[in-house]
Structure formats: C-alpha cells, structure tokens
Subunit: 709 residues, 2 copies
Amino acid sequence: MDPIRHTATAYLINGVPTYLNSGEFHYFRVPKADWRRRMRLFKEAGGNVLATYVPWLLHEPEEGQFVWGETADHLDLDGFLQAALAEGLYVIARPGPYQYSELVYDGLPGWLCENYPALRAHNRQGKSFRTSSVSYVHPLFWEKVRRWFDRVCPILAKHTVTNGGPIAFTQIDNEMGGVHEWHGGLDYNAEAMGFGRPDGRFPRWLHARHREIAVLNAHYGTRYTSFAEVEPPPACGSGVTAIRRNQDYFHFYLGTIAEYARFLADQFRVHGIDTPIVHNSGNPGMNAYFLETAAELGETFVLGSDHYYNLGQNWSQNHPTPQYAAQSLISLEELRLMGFPPTVFELPGGSCSNWPPILPSDALACYLTNLAFGMRGHNYYIFTGGPNPPGAGTTSDLYDYDAGIGPAGEIRPLYAAQKEFGQILAAHPWLPTAFRQCDFRLALDLEYSRTDHYWPAGGDLNPSPKHAWDLLRVGPLTTALCAGLSPEMVRLDALPPPTEAMPLLVIAAASMAAGKQQALVQFLKAGGKALILPVLPWLDEALRPCTILADFLRAPPTVPVPKSYLRPTVGGVVNIRGEVTALWEKLPPGAEPGGVEEHSGRPIAWSLKTAGGGEVVMLSFKWVHSMREHERMLKALLMRLGCRPVIQGSNPNVWATLWTAGDKRLLFLLNLFTDRQETKVRLTLADGRTIPAGSHAVAPVTVSVVEIP
Amino acid sequence: MDPIRHTATAYLINGVPTYLNSGEFHYFRVPKADWRRRMRLFKEAGGNVLATYVPWLLHEPEEGQFVWGETADHLDLDGFLQAALAEGLYVIARPGPYQYSELVYDGLPGWLCENYPALRAHNRQGKSFRTSSVSYVHPLFWEKVRRWFDRVCPILAKHTVTNGGPIAFTQIDNEMGGVHEWHGGLDYNAEAMGFGRPDGRFPRWLHARHREIAVLNAHYGTRYTSFAEVEPPPACGSGVTAIRRNQDYFHFYLGTIAEYARFLADQFRVHGIDTPIVHNSGNPGMNAYFLETAAELGETFVLGSDHYYNLGQNWSQNHPTPQYAAQSLISLEELRLMGFPPTVFELPGGSCSNWPPILPSDALACYLTNLAFGMRGHNYYIFTGGPNPPGAGTTSDLYDYDAGIGPAGEIRPLYAAQKEFGQILAAHPWLPTAFRQCDFRLALDLEYSRTDHYWPAGGDLNPSPKHAWDLLRVGPLTTALCAGLSPEMVRLDALPPPTEAMPLLVIAAASMAAGKQQALVQFLKAGGKALILPVLPWLDEALRPCTILADFLRAPPTVPVPKSYLRPTVGGVVNIRGEVTALWEKLPPGAEPGGVEEHSGRPIAWSLKTAGGGEVVMLSFKWVHSMREHERMLKALLMRLGCRPVIQGSNPNVWATLWTAGDKRLLFLLNLFTDRQETKVRLTLADGRTIPAGSHAVAPVTVSVVEIP
C-alpha cells in the first residue's frame, strides 16, 4: 500500500487527492471470527481506513506482564493488522497512552492509576482530582509509558505502510487536555511542573518568557526575587495582573502538552514508526490548544477534531442543528488554517448513550453538513463494536454504541446512511480538489478561542477575547449564513493580501496582539477593505496599552454608553436589535457616517477610506443573530465594501454552500430544522452572469446535494 | 358572561369544565380597525379568552400625565374591552407594573427608571445593576405604582365580568423575580429591605424566624447583638453557615415577592376588581418561588407558568424535545399540586427572534406535548402583533413575533396549527375532567427546586437538594417515560395515603425537612411502598443533623466509596452505568439484598419490609438516563414494589400518556425526535385485561392523538 500523504487541503493516495473515509474498529471488542466480514462491509460503505485504539489497560494487565494474541483472540493486534492489510484497508493506530473509549481508567492500566498516586494531575490546591487523570509530563508517568511503548511500538513499526503493512497514521494520546479540563481544570502537579525548583519546567518557561525577574514583577505586580519563587496563579485573583498570570500559566500548560506530544512522537520514531503522527482535538473549542504542539512536531503532524452533536441528554442538541453546523464550519476552517486537511477524527457513528438516539437520518445530515463545510476526511466513532473485555467497560459489558454494524455483526439502518454518504463521496471524486465559493473573509484570532482559562467573562475589560470569539459565531457568522453569504476564514496572524470583492470582517476585543493590529494596518495600506466590530482594541496581547489600529484610523474618543434603552440605526436598518458598544464623540477626519444612535444622535458606525486605497467600516455594535434586519444590515455593509454575493437563496433557514472544481459545481442545501423548507436559489458566476439554480424542497434535518450544470 | 371559576384541576365556565384557550392580543399594537376581525379569527381557532398587557409606559408617558383612547387609537383600552365583550371573548388584563413584552424599560415608564434611581434593585455590593430593574417593595416605587393603579384599575373594574364586562382574570406584574434573577441576582436594596433598622423588613423577618438573636448566632456562627445588626450574607461564604444565611435571605426575598403581590392585589381590590388574580412564573424552574405568594393570596390566586422552548439561538433546543417535555410535565404537575389548574400563561405563539424559526409543526407538537402532560389552559404569546408605538419596542419598530396572524392581519401557517389544536380540544370536551393513567408516584420536594440561590452545586454536602431535583428529571423520570411508566407526582409535604400498586419514588438529598422525613415514615407505617434513592438524608431543612428516616429503617453505616471505577449490579442488571453513592457496611436487620458493587462485594441496594406492612427499596445509585439497562432496572424495582404498568410500548423514543374519563380513552404518542418512529402499544386495563392499542408510525416532532375504543 502507498503511504497516505497530505497537503493543507487534502489527503493523497498514490498521489491522487482522496477522501479519507475511516471507521473505528476495535479488535479487542469485535469478535476475531467476524473481522474480515465486517471489514468488507466497511469497504462496501466506501471505507478506506480503519482506526483502532491499542489499549495499554488490556495489554499490560499487571505491571511488566504483557499479553498479546497468544493469550486471547481479543488481544491479537498483530492478527488484526494482517487482516486489515489483507482487505486492503489502511489503519490509524492509536496506542495511547490514553484511550478513553468508555474503558475503565480511560484505558490506562488500573495498577498505574491506583499504585502510583504521585503521577496524578493536581488542582491549584495540590490535590489529585481523579484517579485516572495523570500529569502528562510527570517523570514517573514517562517511565511507565516508555515501557509500554517499548512493547507496543515495535509491533506497530513492523506494520507501517513503508514496511509493507497497513498503518498509515499513528496517533499520540487521545483528546489531550480533556482529562484535566473536563474533570478539575489545568494540571498543577508540583513535581511535574517544577514549582520552586530553578531548573523546574515552570521557572524555566517563565525565564524564557520574561528574561528578567524585574520584567515579570512589573507584569504581575509582584516582588519575586527569582523565577523559582513564582507560584502558580492564585484561584481568586481578578483584574489585569490576574489575567496576565493565568495567561502565562495556560500558555505554559499548553507548552507541556507540546512537550508531552514530542516525548510520545520521539518514542514512535525511536521504534521505527515512520508514519505521519495524528491527534484528535476533543472538540472544536480545543483545536487551538494545539498551536504549540503543531509547531513542535512540524510537518509530520496532522490535527483533526472530534465533532459530536450528542452523547447524552445534557448536550446542547439531540440532532445536528444550524448552531452545530456553524461550530463545525469554524472548526474545519481552523484546521485548514493550521495547515491540516480538515479531518473529523471522531464523527458520530452512534453514541455511548442509547438515548437520546442517534437517528440514521440525523447522522447522515451531520456527515453532509461537515462535508458541505470542508471536511476532507473522517473517522466514524465507532463503525462496529462488540463485547467489552471482562471488567474493561464503563457503560455495561457490551460496547454496542448503536453503531452501524451491531456487536453481533448485524446490519443496522445507520450503516445504510454511511453507505449513502460513501456513495455521495464516490460520485464526486473531484471534491477533495474543489474549493468553496466565498463572498467575504472572516478573520480568526486563534488566541481569542483559547482565553477561557485566563480571561474571565464578565470582567471589567469588555468585550473579552472569549466574548469576541463567541460573538463571531452567534452574530456575524450566523447572520451571514442566513443571508446566503459564505465566509472564507483567514488567520489574523497570517492575513492574505487583499482580494477584489472580498472584504475582511474582523471581530475585535479589548485586547488584540500588537502584531495583529499592525497586520490590519498593512492590509488597509495595501488597499484592503475591512468591516471591524464591535470595538477598536486598546490593549495588546499582554494587556499593555496598544492602539495601533485606532491610531492609524485617527479614531476620535468615545463617550460613555448610557445603560439604558438605545435606538441604533445602521445601514438603513432602523432600531436594530443588539447592543451599542461605543458612541463616538465625532467622526474621524474624512469619515462618512454609517450608523447612529438616534436618542443621542451620536455616530455608532462610520466608514473611512485609508491611505493606500483601503477602506474601513467601523461598527460599534454587536448582536446575537435573531432578526431578518441583521441580515439586511450585514449584507449592506459588506456590499458597500465590494462584496458580490454568489448565492441568492430565498429562505434564511436553508444554508447553502457551493463547491466548484473547473466546470463542476455542487450545491449543498442544509435544512437542519424540523420541518420541510423550500428555497429558490440563484447563483452569480465569476463572470457576473446570474443563473437559476432551481427551487428546492429540503426535507427536515436533511442536506440536499445538488449538481449544478 | 359568566365568571370563570377554577378547581385544582380545571376551569369552569357556566359550571362546565372548560379548557381555557387564550391568546395574547395587544390593543396597543394591533390596529384598532382590525381588532374585531382578528378576534373572530381567534374564535375560529378555538379561542375563548384574550390576554393583554396594559403598559404603564404608554399610558403615563410623562409623570402624572395619563393618556387613553381619546389621544390615540392604540391607547384605547376601553374600546378594546368593549370589542372583546362584543365578540364574546373573556379577557385577562395584565396592568403590570411590569410587562416586559420587548418594550423599553420592560414596560415601566422611562421617567420612573431614569429619574428615580433610588428605587432600583441593588446587588450585594449595594449597586444598581440595571436601569429598569426596580426593588419590588421600595416605598417610592409603591407610591408611583399606586398613582398608576389609581388610574388604570377603575377602568378595569368597570369591565370585570361581574360588572358585565369581559375581564375574567387580572394579572399582577409579570414573571416576578425575573428582573432580578436574570440580570444581577437577588435584590439587596438597603432602603427597601430595611438593613440596619430595627423595624426594617429583613430584621423583622429574621426576628420572626429565629425569635432570639442567640438562636440566630448559633445558626449562623456569628456574634450579632441584635437583629438590626445582621447584614445580608456575604458573596463569598461557603460551608453550612453560608448556606443557612443565604437560605434565610432567599426565603426572606421570596417573602418580599409575596408582600409585593399582596400590595398589588390590594390595589386591585380597593378599586373594585373582583376577579381571580393570576400570575405567570417566568419558567418552570421558578414555579415554587411562589409558594409564599400563593399562601399570602389564598384561593383568589391562580399561578401558571411560561413554557417557551426557544426564544433565540442560545436556547437549549430549537424545537420541543423530550427534555422539554419532561420539564413541562414537572411544571404542570407542580402547578396542580400547588392547587392550580395547570396553565401555561405563555405558550409559544411565535418568538421575539425570527431565527431560529418557530415552525408551525413544532409549535403544534409543543401544544400537544403540554396537553398530553396535563395542561388545562394556555395563552398563546402572542396570537397577533402589529407596529410598536413610537419608541416603545426593543426588537425593531414592528412587533411581528412571527405570530399566527401577522402584523398586517395576514394569516400564516402557524394559525392553522393553532386551529388544529383548537379542533383537537373541541373534539374531546371531556379532557378537562379526565385523569392521566399513572403507574407509580413520584414525590416532589418543592423546596429542592428553589435551592439554586443558597446551596451551591459542587459543595461538600452531596447530593445537594438542587442536584437531587435535577436528578429526578434527568434520571428516574426520563427513564420511566422511556420505559412506558407514567408517574403521578405528589408533594412530599402532603403525601397522600398509600395506594395499592402505586409505589412511591423518592429522590433524597443530604438534607430533607424533618417533617418530610417523618411523613415518609408515616407513609411506610401505613403500609406504603417506596423506592428511595440515591441517599438517606442526614440533615434537616436547616442543615441540622436529622436521621429520622434512616433511624426508622435501622440503616447501618456506610463505608467510603472509592473514587475509582466500580461495578454496580442492581435488579439483575450488570455493570449498570451511573454513580454508586454509598457502600453499605451490611444490610439492615431483616433486609434483603437488591444490588451489589461487585469489586467490593458491598450492598448498594436493599429492600426491607417495615412495621405496618410497608416496604422500602433503598438504592444507593444515581444515573443520567442513557441506556436501555436503566429502563430494565427501574421497571424491575418498581414492579417489585407492586407497580403494574398500564402501557407497554415497543419503542422508548415514543413517550405515551393515556387519559381516561369514564369509558373514554385518549392516547398521546410523543415523537419529539427528528425521524419517524414506530411503536406498538398494548394497554393493561384496571381489571387486569391486556388489550392491543395498535401499531403507530409517528412522524418527526409530532404528537399523535389516538382514540382508544
């Protein structure tokens, strides 16, 4: 088999851009006698890759005692890899250390968690919060992991593609950070982090960051005499210095994840595993936690994300909703912008809960929603299950998962949905080289997405970066999708040059890195057009005063916004629902008015042509998308900046995306509501011609895939 | 028109049990020329009552300057009431003071909010948190309200049913507590609450509660020398004394709501309004906030609840889900148990957001879901809208609300759904006298539902009452509904005598009032059968040691539950998913084992026959419903205690309820998932016969109403 290569937008097999259609298939659960038959079923559904955990828990049941296929069929990793090869299926091997997978101790050996409490993660108070949440960089943990990898990695190395086997990718760990974040917060294990030791990880990190203790003290408002003395941030701080201390600690913590990833990857390499290394972010909100890890591992690394919509009754939705779709779009674009072919390494193939049920029609809508928004590969979690090995499961003794192929090998309706998805992929082999038609650019500040742990919502500095990050999704992005506008996301720290008819939308917060403000200025000087909301930043990434952007625009002062009922009118839309974030004392020199708060008569939006042919619309207003008026306002502002919408749909409840490659065109129509929706679509082509693209009735919770001649 | 009377289960018109089908209809928005036509449309849809706010904001635009129909058609309250009378429609008048209704200042006059900051509610720090959130019992507020009521009440009094008009009910305020809870927490306005004054409200309340300052000090762990000295609880306290102080303050606060309600009701009476007085709880979670208010106002009072499922994209669901249905069932049962005919005073008739859309099919499913679970009256919010009076609206200048009848009088698809609902009601006029077939009783501790403000989740005392309250819904109730079991709710503080074949399910927390523990003991002594989980309480309502229930059962000690992976087996179900809450050292004398944690071999469930012929199953286990195994476990335990399920359905995704009156039977089948569900139903009648009730295919997000011969 040929190694699977990848670019930033697609996987390549034998040099051909190919969709990665993977399914999770646990050799330790699926009865060995049925492996080959189920693999063939998977191929019939379009599958080309299998993924499996390799649970440490099962293969080292007592410390130092390793068991494999000789002991029991369900431990026959080697046999499984041979079977996959025989069926011509690639394999993603996931040897941990962590698995989760509804296994006891998250797949770690019980002896490790119970007998070595020193290696557990600690909370700020220095207490362990969970038996099976370890400190990723604890030396004792690494020692035990090394012994496990010394046994499992040689088996995997023997079966890599370059050695004639099926293993195309090897995964480090599982949803890194999750065992901390979801159960007790960050890890503050003093031994692992080296608190108080001059050569400790945290003091060394602080030294590299601040160089001089005086610089740190000025930054923190503290009086430490050495880096070794610096304690982790207290739990109850508030204000700028508290944010700075927690920001440092969080960045340090993400660095320890990168270090852990490097350690695991090195183990793979030492043992001769030469495949790309993959990892699955636990959910879209965690993608940017891996910026440091990606930098550390370089081109050999592929990050994907897990896109569940429901794993239990307390989830935000029972079925894929437009809210889920918006979240997925951001996630897939983030992955692309981080340099990875957008991959959903865990795409719902059932659920660990029987109820609420994962309905086959909902699952198909979920798959197509992700495809419509750029997914270039997926792994069904799970494709098929079976009995849990004795004592290993946490959700009963059977790992049914309501998967497409049942634990006894039975074919279920979900399998038909997966087969249908496979057929859609097969019918459009050009999709992995296609591009999505976009109408404007939406700037992502990836740092904004990772401020949860250090910048509390509702503080004095508003909008906080996290608020701006959420606003991007619930406000402009959702409004745009309802209005038929498709955004191409770009990174604020790597802005592409301006493109005609593609204005840039920027959501700013109180703070924005100096370099990013500078990049925006350059963008404008190069003739770029930008809509900026809801504020101009006044702080840099470390919360120091920084008004590069405001200064360039010669933005005048603002007056305090009364905490009362205001009447905003913007882009011709009167009394629009939302929150006025600033009242400008006057317009900047040369600016034109764009919106006003009617009671005070103060400007809340203005447009300004900048040096170099650029243009800015500044909008001091934020909103949660809820009204048709929001669509009208946003469309008016973007069109003023040159946007020429490609898709005109008649129904805001049907979201549309259009993919093209050469003369091929595929339109996705998403109806993620619970009754039939009708829409009439027209397309404006690159040459300016407008063509009808039909009237469509889209069934409830369905994505229609329409070929446009 | 005949006055509308009510019992605890139904409304009576001319002595006949009648469903209250009301629609919100704002004379200040709907153009006067179209009033009568739209009223007739409402009657065609089955309506018999109209509700309207009477906005203070509009009728007293400047302080002391009152305007009515002479000034403008949209102010013609009198004309509106005459029109309703002419059309034979009853009216619910809602003169505030608060309206909300997407009006600026929540419907209070701007001059009141802007010119009299002293009457605003305060947070713990003594600061106003919102211009239009007032302190309900502030003397200055009462003075202003009195002047408003002096003008509006005489108009309403003139039009009450007893005076030959249409007004059958008058509402005090709107969603009381909401302007505090949703915007800043409780109200700590020092002037209104009387902090520091011997004759102040809070000191007087404390005196009535504790009698002696020494008693209070012992309770709080403080050293006050007088009640006047007692400060409101600090924000950051924790532990038992913090819970007690916050508990007192919250109970005191609820008392001020009752006092405010009394003040408003007295104003109505003084002016001759003799109708029953109604109020709408802001959401199901707030129903029990009005126990004090109900006691204060007595039989003249009817509380209903507002049951929205979506008013914006951040809501938990876009359409009615099973989770919404479970919440609604609890709410309707709570209202019934508080003595009120279960009424949804705001039932979605559109939304203040255009998006996500309120689809007509979803709305109908919502109406039928509430009907299936006992709703005896509703008020569509809104039935029809129109232009907002100048400057009065917060969601644009048009109050469209996507209502069934549009602002220009146009008929929309939602109207057809409402008409269909009206036809179903008309076809079953016996429903208001029917009763729901139930299989077991579920005890509600209403105090548990109101502990959010004083007992923080995740503290040391677990399970907290709030945790137990949530557990009731997400665990046993949801499991029961999936298993085809229907609970009749009962109040733990007013337990009915035991009934054959109706075991009682009790969810207990760390604390349970001594009187409630005693009542459970009495219930068992009277031969009752009860399933109690997940703990036996060890504290009373004021967090003093209290083990009345455990002592009666002679419950042995428990051993600490290891924070590790356990293997619970209960009722024949092995390795069931959930959390073991206690490991018993041994069984109580005379008990039989009912479940075991397999690793330790310790009992986690036992059953015990008590003196007086009672029987208890104690289950030290809690779960979030997710597996078919949960259904099997719960059904086994309840059937062991004598439950004989009425409905056997083949599909856990279709929830069923059966209503009977004499020989009439109506079966509701709820499919609140997004694909068609099939179910085969059999019924076991009171005489023990089992009869088939058909195979049914229920469309997505639909409630089938099936007559059973």
